[in-house]
């Protein structure tokens, strides 16, 4: 057991840190959260800058430890988030890399890495959330095309995406985990309609995507027809892996900021608040160590996030909600003010126990797959 980084890893960190110190001051002002084209331009420009500096493929090609260092350093330096590049870099990209043909990889991967093309995800449907495999969006063959009809929901960045990784049902008679197919849908195709979906935070992070007889060339299929479920599972666990490690770093910074604010306004005299923040400090410290543990484990198992990812996701999502509940205690009446960042973050933290698998689903996964408990009748 060692928490010291190798010379190579330290060199990677130093190089990244130096580059960030040079690159970040040249960044333009961040766009308004409601300016979608602006956000796309900002996020993709940042990805291009990363690419040019040799960090474009860090989520794919680097070792898990390098990836952790990348997340830690970019977060510490206040670098932009992955933003509009999320699905391309962390989901569709890895899927295509693992399951695509050489032509598909050549067509789609470089534009993702260079920040030229943005992807979004078309998996969930209004009636297929936790039970993703019950999705109903249909696709059938018509010559060298699939014709797709249905709708998708919770699609981030749909307004500005070039491509959508789409999961459709090609064999309605097969059992629900079979008969699904993974397609790359061009968002510009006729019949695609995007309707922004407003969240309780008032933002429109998500959209619904309606597909009305949209034609997708057959060579846009990744993996075999009816084999989409397996193709999807290959990368689904990425979301639960070290993806949150950067956020843990951010949460630790927020904790420090909360303590500073509480000290400044006298609330620090309240031991109830102090002890709550002290406990959260232990909590996020442990989550960071767990992220390092998981990264080291992945390094041993060849880059695949271990099953511990569900454990991490469960604990982290609840810890994050507790953090922002504690923030509300620090804010006092200001917790009702949307002008305060922490109030807005508190609202978005509400999705953490739901998105990417509810806590209930995660607990079932942990119990059945990690602990080997039997499935119910």
């Amino acid at each position: 057991m060692d928490l010291a980084y190798t010379e190579e890893e330290e060199a990677f960190r130093d190089g990244l840190r130096e580059w960030l110190a040079r690159a970040l001051p040249t960044l333009p002002a961040p766009p308004s959260p409601h300016d979608w084209p602006g956000r796309r331009a900002y996020d993709t420009a940042w990805q291009r800058a990363l690419y040019d500096a040799g960090y474009g493929g860090v989520h794919w090609e680097a070792t898990p430890t390098q990836r952790l260092i990348f997340l830690e350093e970019t977060e510490e330096a206040g670098a932009p988030y992955v933003g509009a590049n999320f699905v391309g870099l962390l989901h569709a990209g890895p899927t295509i890399a693992a399951e695509g043909t050489p032509e598909q990889r050549a067509r789609w991967l470089p534009p993702i890495l260079r920040g030229d093309e943005v992807w979004c995800q078309g998996f969930s449907e209004p009636d297929a959330g936790s039970d993703l495999a019950s999705l109903r969006t249909r696709a059938w063959r018509d010559g060298d095309h699939y014709v797709v009809r249905g709708s998708k929901i919770w699609t981030s960045h749909a307004e500005v995406a070039d491509w959508c990784e789409l999961l459709v049902r090609t064999d309605p008679d097969a059992p629900k985990h079979r008969g699904l197919t993974w397609l790359a849908l061009p968002m510009a195709a006729p019949g695609v309609t995007v309707r922004p979906l407003r969240t309780l935070a008032g933002s429109t992070e998500f959209a619904e995507v309606f597909l009305d007889e949209v034609r997708v060339p057959v060579d846009h299929r990744v993996g075999a027809e009816d084999d989409g479920w397996r193709v999807t599972l290959v990368t689904l666990s990425y979301e639960r892996g070290t993806a949150f490690a950067g956020e843990v770093v951010a949460c630790r910074r927020v904790l420090g900021d909360l303590a500073r604010e509480a000290r400044a306004d006298g609330r620090w005299d309240d031991p109830v608040l102090r002890r709550r923040l002290g406990r959260l400090s232990a909590e996020f410290g442990a989550l960071w160590r767990l992220a390092q543990w998981n990264a080291s484990e992945a390094q041993h198992t060849g880059g695949v996030p271990g099953p511990g990812a569900s454990v991490f996701k469960l604990r982290y999502s609840h810890a994050r909600q507790e953090l922002y509940d504690a923030a509300a205690d620090v804010l006092g009446d200001d917790a009702l003010d949307l002008g305060r960042t922490w109030t807005r973050e508190r609202l978005s933290s509400l999705s953490y126990t739901i998105a990417a698998g509810t806590s209930q689903i995660q607990r079932t996964i942990v119990a059945e797959r990690l602990l080997g408990l039997p499935k119910g009748r």
Partner: protein, 285 residues
């Protein structure tokens, strides 16, 4: 960075687990519950196995291992509910004659408590005014003293490792029972309510494990205190949830569940307690 057990560390842990299984298995545990008192023979066997000398420098006859190795064996001790003033004797092994070999039993005042006072050969701290209490834990006799003696982070770290082992034992027991016990025509572990309780048992151990191991590796006293905070919580709550999974059977003296709970309560009061740990961590924010 390679924050995983090395082959040597795995061998050390497995070897010690094996020794405990042979020398302090379930029958020995229950015998110890029925006939309290320190088993000097077991204590010497631990000494012979290198338990106490683990971190004594090789130049002085020890095994020259570090804190990482120490937490691994203390985790196993916690898992097996090994009784005795393990932490005090372990920490005294470098300078108290006979502690390293298990000949001399050392205890120490921890806060205002002294475990195993009557059985110890050497006592650290002032116990002139010590008074016995009726210990809730049948495997840990306790005295109280009027003055306080604060423990260092090394004590908290080793206690945290024991708590971690106990939390894992409770988790394993709950999972095993849930898979075997049938009600309403299926194993109770097939019911979501039980399944999710068991999942939380794991969700408590894994961050505590990462915290304990990391604190051992870095030697950061604040991490040791944070690790104790999380491990205390994991040990106590896992034992309680395990009791809930066991149902009425968990409420019996014969089940080991209560032994883990009571020992976890005792350890939570030794070393840095929750309130102090939280204040200390808050102060550092």
């Amino acid at each position: 960075m390679d924050f995983q057990l090395s082959a040597d560390q795995r061998a050390l842990r497995d070897g010690f687990r094996e020794i405990l299984r042979a020398r302090f298995g379930r029958d020995a545990l229950r015998a110890a519950v029925d006939a309290p008192g320190l088993d000097r023979e077991l204590w010497r066997a631990l000494g012979k196995a290198g338990f106490f000398a683990l971190c004594v420098p090789e130049a002085r006859g020890g095994l020259g291992q570090g804190a990482a190795e120490a937490v691994l064996v203390f985790e196993e001790a916690g898992r097996a509910l090994l009784p005795g003033p393990l932490v005090a004797t372990f920490l005294a092994a470098g300078d108290v004659e006979g502690a390293a070999t298990g000949e001399t039993v050392v205890t120490a005042v921890s806060g205002t408590l002294v475990p195993w006072l009557a059985e110890a050969d050497v006592v650290r701290g002032d116990v002139t005014a010590a008074e016995p209490l009726r210990s809730v834990d049948p495997l840990t006799p306790l005295h109280r003293v009027p003055g306080r003696r604060e423990d260092g982070p090394d004590v908290s770290l080793l206690l945290a490792a024991e708590q971690l082992g106990s939390a894992c034992a409770s988790r394993d027991a709950a999972v095993r029972y849930a898979g075997e016990r049938e009600q309403f025509g299926q194993p109770i572990g097939a019911f979501q309510a039980v399944k999710h309780l068991c999942a939380e048992l794991l969700v408590r151990t894994e961050p505590a494990r990462a915290a304990v191991y990391a604190a051992a590796v870095t030697g950061d006293p604040r991490e040791a205190v944070a690790a104790k905070l999380l491990a205390d919580d994991a040990a106590v709550r896992n034992a309680r949830d395990c009791l809930q999974v066991y149902g009425g059977m968990g409420f019996t003296w014969e089940a080991d569940v209560h032994l883990h709970l009571k020992r976890a309560w005792v350890r939570a009061r030794l070393g840095t307690t929750a309130a102090r740990a939280e204040e200390e961590l808050a102060a550092a924010l």
